[in-house]
């Protein structure tokens, strides 16, 4: 009787351990997985830690850690009126870009979903241009283009032109983020339900569509904000030192007679902290759900 039970149990045991083994082979041994994860973490964290240390270092020479520490760079950078003006310009430009992109891109994108599919290829082609053309080329092109007519030539080297250029080059990420969430929200079905029950396109956008895709709008806006904050090539070639944005200021800290690389480290950490705070606010607003960027299959 005992032997019978034993032999009946043995194959089951074999099978379970066999399956576990197969899983083990696929995923690699536990230590290897842990090591891989740690490697990725170090790869991501090391530059951040180094920047943080550098922003606190007095001198740092040929040693793993700085010679000694100081808050001097933080204090001097945060009180430097030139730096504050630069970061102020960047934030203003980035916020205006977010507003402009929302006003300019959302309506046609919505329209392409509910009414006219034919404008989609046009939107997508426009969205590809900033990706295939280097920033320097676009900046040069924009400068020459506005120089063609006396009226537009007045825009040359103005912050307004810089804003327009950044809007034109940073909207694709917004377009893709919001396009995905429009699809995921099944906007066509929502539009049909709204219009059959008496609502026009504008009321539907305001009351039904925008609330349904607010996570995508937030994610898209954040990406546009980050990209506008970091825009260097356009700022350098369109306005240059006449309108010094944060990246231009940072570039100046790396070379020249008044270079201040420690201040550059401080400013990098500041903009990173700002973006992190915004992302965190969005995640909180989503009640912990990660904002959806990629389109997902519509739920049936």
């Amino acid at each position: 009787m005992d032997r019978l039970t034993m032999s009946a149990r043995a194959p089951t045991q074999n099978r379970t351990s066999g399956m576990a083994e197969a899983a083990e082979v696929l995923a690699g041994p536990r230590w290897l997985r842990a090591a891989a994860l740690a490697g990725v973490a170090v790869y991501g964290a090391l530059p951040l830690c180094a920047t943080a240390l550098y922003s606190l270092a007095t001198v740092w020479r040929r040693k793993p850690l700085p010679d000694s520490y100081t808050l001097q760079w933080w204090a001097s950078t945060l009180t430097d009126p030139v730096f504050l003006a630069a970061i102020g310009r960047s934030i203003t430009i980035a916020l205006l870009t977010v507003v402009a992109v929302n006003l300019v891109v959302l309506p046609p994108l919505y329209w392409s979903h509910i009414a006219n599919r034919r404008i989609r290829p046009l939107l997508e082609a426009c969205a590809l241009i900033p990706f295939v053309l280097p920033g320097v080329v676009m900046a040069a092109g924009i400068n020459r283009f506005v120089g063609l007519w006396p009226l537009t030539a007045q825009l040359q080297a103005t912050p307004t032109l810089l804003l327009l250029a950044i809007v034109a080059t940073s909207f694709p990420i917004y377009l893709w983020a919001v396009d995905g969430s429009l699809r995921a929200a099944n906007v066509i079905a929502l539009w049909e339900a709204a219009t059959v029950h008496g609502a026009g396109p504008w009321r539907t956008l305001r009351r039904v569509v925008v609330p349904s895709i607010r996570h995508g709008l937030a994610a898209g806006s954040l990406l546009v904000f980050a990209s506008a904050m970091g825009e260097l090539a356009l700022a350098r070639l369109i306005t240059g030192s006449a309108f010094e944005t944060l990246p231009l200021w940072q570039l100046r800290q790396l070379r020249g007679t008044d270079a201040n690389p420690n201040g550059m480290a401080v400013s990098s950490l500041l903009s990173l902290a700002m973006l992190f705070a915004f992302s965190f606010a969005i995640v909180l607003g989503n009640r912990g759900r990660v904002a959806q960027i990629a389109p997902t299959a519509a739920k049936d």
Binding site: E192, A193, T195, H197, A199, G200, V208, D300
Partner: protein, 354 residues
């Protein structure tokens, strides 16, 4: 005065004819079901009436008004969609109030109408919940309340129950009918489920390949189909290919003999309902039972004969007598079959059997 009238409606998508010259009218307070297989054009017809799809030609009238060129939002219809299409960021009450808000009802009237509608569908207690907090059946009730809230001229239902489980489907089906009768609403109900169509409708319109094949009462289209397609689509009939004999009768061995007014040699299709097949007949044709499926009160047998498989129903109490594999002798009750000419595709080629 018919509430909904459709005249010469045509719509093609590329090379597919979704609607080929549809004429239809639904009278005041009537529920008409549009029944047909998927792709027959029934949803396209509904969407043309709703204004969501633009017909290539033809007219749509709601009451006395020609709305063919009107946008959907001014047509004054209520619609229940297949996937509910509730607004996910609004509560049940806000969803029901949406059509009223969109049509600028005064605030007090909106609140009153919302509670009236939620009471009608029995959902007062979940007014403050969001769609994702509701079951499928509750969501569909909210959708029905929303469709009726604005007091539309006509209620359009597009496969309203297809996403629900069988139990909820039956309950909700009967409830939709009760509410429609209570409100006295003119309604069009699109479905591919014949049981659903026959149960809720005053009249059933059978559609196939963009044509409205026939319209009649549920009993008419089920028991006395006038078109071969209807006969094949409803009632689980077996279609037998036979020919008119020299004596002007259609015969199937000793199992069936029925007179038709057509010349000898005319190919015909005989539509046989499962109830018309008698087993263990004295004279008849032989067949072998190949499949037995229990259906509640009756059990359906698939019997292999010289003409192919034929479906027959027996009372479930007699199932033991008909095990799979048994050979039976079967006959067909001539007064329960329809005979159609097989060489013409017309609608009126049916012969009353006798």
């Amino acid at each position: 005065m018919p509430e909904v009238r459709v005249e010469h409606l045509r719509k093609t998508f590329g090379r597919t004819t979704a609607l080929g010259n549809i004429n239809l009218s639904v009278s005041d307070g009537e529920l008409l079901a549009l029944l047909g297989p998927s792709g027959c054009g029934k949803t396209t017809l509904l969407r043309c009436i709703a204004g969501l799809t633009r017909p290539d030609s033809g007219s749509v009238f709601l009451g006395s008004r020609d709305v063919t060129e009107d946008p959907s939002r001014t047509r004054d219809v209520g619609m229940v969609f297949q996937g509910y299409a509730l607004f996910p960021t609004m509560t049940a009450a806000e969803n029901v109030g949406f059509p009223l808000e969109a049509r600028r009802w005064p605030r007090g009237a909106v609140a009153e109408r919302i509670s009236e509608m939620l009471a009608l569908v029995g959902l007062e207690h979940i007014a403050a919940r969001y769609p994702h907090e509701l079951s499928g059946g509750q969501q569909q009730r909210v959708a029905l309340a929303r469709a009726l809230a604005g007091k539309p001229k006509v209620l359009l239902l597009d496969e309203p129950l297809s996403a629900l489980d069988a139990m909820t489907r039956t309950t909700l089906r009967d409830e939709i009918r009760r509410i429609q009768l209570k409100v006295g609403m003119t309604a069009l109900y699109v479905t591919h489920d014949q049981a659903e169509a026959l149960a809720v409708a005053d009249r059933v319109g059978v559609m196939d390949h963009g044509r409205l094949v026939e319209v009649g009462s549920p009993a008419d289209v089920y028991l006395r189909p006038r078109h071969r397609f209807t006969a094949g689509f409803l009632g689980g009939r077996t279609m037998l290919a036979l020919a008119v004999g020299s004596d002007g009768r259609v015969r199937w061995g000793g199992a069936l003999a029925t007179s038709v007014p057509w010349p000898s040699g005319t190919p015909v299709i005989v539509a046989v309902t499962p109830e018309a097949v008698r087993l263990d007949a004295v004279s008849g044709v032989e067949g072998r039972i190949v499949l037995v499926s229990f259906r509640g009160g009756t059990t359906r047998l698939q019997i292999e004969t010289e003409l192919g498989e034929i479906a027959a129903d027996v009372a479930s109490s007699e199932t033991e007598r008909y095990p799979s594999g048994r050979t039976v002798r079967l006959a067909v009750a001539a007064d329960l079959v329809q005979v159609f000419r097989a060489d013409e595709n017309g609608v009126d080629d049916v012969s009353d059997a006798h």
